[in-house]
Symmetry: C2
Subunit: 325 residues, 2 copies
């Protein structure tokens, strides 16, 4: 328990990951309102939308308009996502996009083919091209993320040593370009992680790259999200991707059941941190209201808990604990 961080950073993915996975296209005004409300909670990093093919992902066809419509709050990073050079160019041309340079890797070859149409090896080699593009744009590397780091529905268990090797490779690549890798995200894309595998992999990556900050991108697909976050906190992890109201998820995570849970839920995990005495800089009550807004926009029950139960703050205010007993 002594390794627990004092402060944890949550990077909000709901507006992008949540609305991208939906079949329906939601009104621009609703998504703008959600992003603006999230920015008022103390969240410092919000992934707003992706710059991907409007033919394949019509939900994100209006990303330029979405970013343009946002009234910015100072100190908040409004991130976009791109998967190819065309997308990156769109992001560069779009007002209000805070560009951050990200490298993407696959721990599963089978999933790389499924999700990206190339081998994991090919994807890795493509990162050199991204290093060049980011260097040309004057963007230092913000982070690298390895997908399916814990397991893969198409390949089974992922040996942790493979992820460590990818981490070393990425760190070496950054050094070739005169940079250091600041953050390395382990993504449990398809919901395979458990508290033991989280501890093991975080421990191994940290041992290999002690100066790199480790982040976790976890999904709550099989209900272990909160337990995995707890295990990570106790390993000192202080950086998580998450989604308001538990939006999002991976279309390949479950047995084709669209009702499977998505990303770990930001407000529920902020609550976990606060209950453990860990600060987040986030106004939990305001964030719960954002989760309720997300549920109203989506129009069906979402998997977050606090949006339905409320936090404990109101009960504590109303009836403080008796001190002497």
């Amino acid at each position: 328990m002594s390794d627990r961080p004092k402060f944890v950073e949550f990077r909000e993915e709901g507006p992008r990951e949540g609305f991208q996975i939906e079949k329906k296209v939601y009104p621009l005004a609703d998504r703008v309102a959600l992003v603006e409300a999230l920015a008022e909670t103390g969240l410092k990093y919000i992934q707003v939308a992706s710059f991907v093919s409007p033919k394949h992902v019509p939900q994100m066809a209006d990303s330029e308009q979405l970013f343009a419509a946002i009234r910015r709050r100072p100190g908040v990073h409004y991130a976009g996502l791109w998967l190819n050079e065309k997308g990156f160019e769109r992001a560069r041309r779009t007002p209000n996009v805070d560009l951050s340079a990200k490298l993407s890797l696959y721990a599963s070859d089978a999933f790389a083919w499924k999700n990206n149409g190339c081998s994991a090896e090919e994807m890795r080699e493509r990162q050199r091209r991204w290093m060049d593009l980011y260097a040309e744009a004057g963007l230092p590397i913000d982070n690298a993320l390895v997908m399916a780091a814990f397991g893969c529905n198409y390949e089974g268990e992922i040996p942790p040593a493979r992820v460590v090797e990818l981490a070393r490779w990425t760190d070496a690549l950054c050094r070739e370009y005169g940079q250091r890798l600041p953050r390395f995200f382990l993504a449990d894309t398809m919901g395979w992680a458990n508290p033991d595998s989280v501890r093991r992999l975080v421990g191994m990556v940290r041992e290999a790259l002690p100066e790199v900050r480790i982040g976790l991108h976890l999904h709550d697909t099989r209900g272990l999200g909160a337990a995995n976050v707890l295990a990570a906190l106790e390993m000192g992890v202080d950086l998580f991707d998450s989604s308001v109201a538990g939006l999002g998820g991976c279309p390949f995570a479950s047995h084709g059941d669209a009702t499977a849970a998505g990303n770990i839920c930001t407000e529920d995990m902020v609550f976990l941190c606060h209950e453990l005495g860990i600060e987040t800089g986030i106004d939990l009550e305001a964030l719960i209201e954002c989760g309720r807004m997300a549920e109203r926009i989506i129009g069906r029950k979402l998997s977050g808990h606090l949006i339905h139960s409320g936090s404990l703050a109101a009960y504590r205010r109303a009836r403080p604990a008796k001190a002497a007993e």
Copy 2:
């Protein structure tokens, strides 16, 4: 981690707690089928129904018929619940009810009034009468349970020392009757527990009563269920109440929102144990099918995760991990 149990027992509460909280009365045949399916999974303790006022709880008006209709599986304990002598007498007269003597206590006076119409002190004193009744019936005490052990929506934080005092009192009562208290359940009735408070309270009760087995009755009201179970496992707790598909919950747990999550979900927590290498004696795949049956019966999306995502077994069978890497 070294304190982790090798084997964990889950006591299934879904058939009683799940259907009792619903507004609707569900067909007897559906509930019989669910109980019988649960008994085939390896679960050894199933709370089938309660013997309470049919006027106040019409959902449980047919408890006699439900028990009578069950085809029993040897080795399974089919439990009933009663709150007063009349209910106990009904249970005694009903075929297939495996009577087990249980004591009930409140850590919150305000909640005792709300839920039971008497003070916590009065409720405690009533346990003497139950000791007499159980002694007359030749039933040794199976367990005692303390409600609102971690916190209360009507009273706020519950000082752990109060719960320890109740545990000592109950143990002393059992000794008066020449018995030992075998199991003491800490119930997080309204979803206040967090991993730290679980560790603290379990540690304090164990220190006070080292020979009593500690059980946890947890709700997932605020999304910390899996994290709380993990913390408990690492304290050596090997006994949990839970509900298939996450049925159940406390009508007083949330801000009056009926969609708040219920009890911790049996199959999700069995999955957690199995992933951590802890045995449960339960066939997870069969249990997931029970959860899906529960969801079909209830007729809306339930909060369990594995019923929507599936477990990892099929993926592992299809593509075993490469051994050498």
